[in-house]
Amino acid sequence: MAATTQIKQLRIATRNCGFIDPESLDDYIAQRGYEALAKVLTMTPAEVVEVIKTAGLRGRGGGGFPTGVKWGIALSNKADQKYMVCNADEGDPGAFMDRAVLEGDPHSIVEAMAIGGYAIGATLGAVYIRAEYPLAIKRLRKAIDDARAMGLLGKNIFGSGFDFDIEIKYGAGAFVCGEETALIRSMEGHRGEPVSKPPFPAQSGYWKKPTIVNNVETFANVPAIILKGADWFSSIGTATSKGTKVFALAGKIVNVGLIEVPMGTSLREVIFDIGGGCPDGKEFKAVQTGGPSGGALAHKDLDVAIDYESLIARKSMMGSGGMVVMDEDDCMVSVAKFFLDFTMDETCGKCTPCRIGSKRLFEILDKITKGHGTQADLSRMKTLCESIKDTALCGLGQTMPNPILSTMDTFANEYEAHVTQKKCPAHVCTAMLTYTIDPAKCTGCTLCTKVCPVECISGTKKQPHVIDASKCIKCGACYDKCKFDSVIKL
């Protein structure tokens, strides 16, 4: 109990979420809203960039590129027009922190975009947001309109001579559009396909003008850094990763929800102290971080201090902060297959390694989960993963093999069991599963015979029953119904 009441969370990016009315500009101003923007307008753009650099803020969308460095590149690139773009194309399965910030504190994003715009010399901003976030769009639109009506956006903000305005661009929900070059293509009205870098968007982006694309959560930190100072921000976190990170805890965890913790918090603290562990007394098995681009961390990683580097070192990544928790009942091969199914659907198809590679990887995983896998498949899959990582055009393809590589690494025995013994240790892959009845436990209550849809269970009342494996369709109805735990999965 003591552990759960300890204060382990620190809310910077989500500081206002749940505390203010997101549709009220007054509520935001009461939280010192737009003071950071006013302060910035008394500084030079180079000074603003320096503050963000010194703070050590890194991109919260996944890559972790230093935000100040990115802004600095755009600042040094002279152009008649530059753009500040907010990436709100949140697409990782199980991640919803960007929506939470946009729905809970939209003005912080508006203010931060204006700050960024001033820092790089942009007068126009755009939020690229998926159309399936209607409430976030509504509240963001109101925030932009209200700020504009108050003169906090538009011409000559705070009498400084700085002009900045924001428009909203809708995405159709393609995962690849979270990749910044694909996002820019989509904003221009083209197909959402990435292009090779360099040139980087900071050099030549939206309409070939210097463009900075930052994630929602990255922006949400900016006003706090400006008002509380770079030293305050950089005093939180680890040597290389400063500040906090918002995670979306999902899956087999008691306290499903959003959390925000200082960088360097251990996985154990996140899963057990804050998350409350797995429900129903089940044993924790793994947590997928970084969504379909990340990997699975297991027991051995529980004391890892979470930051960008430590996750990469474990073949995973920070990603946008999704954390999908798995317990003893989850099959890691099936988990990898789930993520590959996702990336296979979401690959844009422009480059061959990603388009065909994802399909082939999925096919091999499918074969393994159906009990037809071989040792050769495992080594073929590993080689294919490495080639895709080396040759795919964008981040989606380059990270797509991560769920496979990390699970093959950490749960090698599970892959082995699938291909050599044709067994799924977690009893998830139905093709390799047999249901039997333990005669010692069966009381002959006949409940199972009544729920079996194919009538493959026989036996006389008060005598142990038997399942005819040749007819069994492995639906699990008898297993769920039996009150004496006499139905066993093998």
């Binding site: 759960t4 009441t5 300890q6 204060i7 382990k8 969370q9 620190l10 809310r11 910077i12 989500t14 500081r15 979420c17 749940g18 505390f19 203010i20 009315d21 997101p22 549709e23 007054d26 509520d27 101003i29 009461a30 939280q31 010192r32 737009y34 003071e35 950071a36 006013a38 302060k39 919803f96 929506r99 939470a100 910030v101 729905e103 809970g104 504190d105 976030y133 209607p134 409430l135 976030a136 509240r139 009506a149 108050m150 003169g151 906090l152 705070f158 009498g159 006003p223 706090a224 008002l227 509380k228 008691v254 306290n255 499903v256 929800g257 959003l258 959390i259 925000e260 804050i274």
Partner: protein, 126 residues
């Protein structure tokens, strides 16, 4: 509506808002989490039930507000209630019955109601 053209004007505006908020301190403040997910979980039902119960009991010192995600997905719908002079308390699992109970028990009598979510974070206030 006049625009805010200087930092001083912004600060003056903030003082005015804070004074207005301070004037509310002798009222009960009910803050209902209404993000997409909280609405899907029944946040609006909870809000309407509480508004109805407040009206039924003829309470005049209760103010409602909406906010975004309170981060407690596991306990949606969530409602934060601040009684005059007390710290805000967040309640989880507020279905219609619980919503009405919160008004009749916690708001009207100050009686504790089950479902309190402890504060497990430190919030940065700018």
């Amino acid at each position: 509506m006049s625009t805010i053209a200087t930092l001083d004007a912004l600060r003056a505006k903030r003082e005015e808002i804070l004074a207005r908020q301070k004037a509310r301190q002798n009222k009960v403040l009910i803050n209902v989490s209404l993000a997409t997910c909280s609405i899907a979980a029944g946040g609006k039902v909870a809000m309407e039930a509480m508004q109805d119960e407040v009206a039924l009991n003829g309470l005049t010192n209760v103010e409602f507000m909406q906010s975004g995600c309170m981060t407690f997905c596991f306990a949606e719908p969530t409602v934060e209630i601040t009684l005059p002079g007390k710290d805000p308390v967040v309640f989880g699992g507020v279905d219609e019955a619980k919503a009405r109970e919160l008004v009749t028990e916690y708001v009207m009598k100050g009686e504790p109601v089950e479902g309190i979510i402890p504060v497990t974070y430190q919030r940065v206030v700018l």
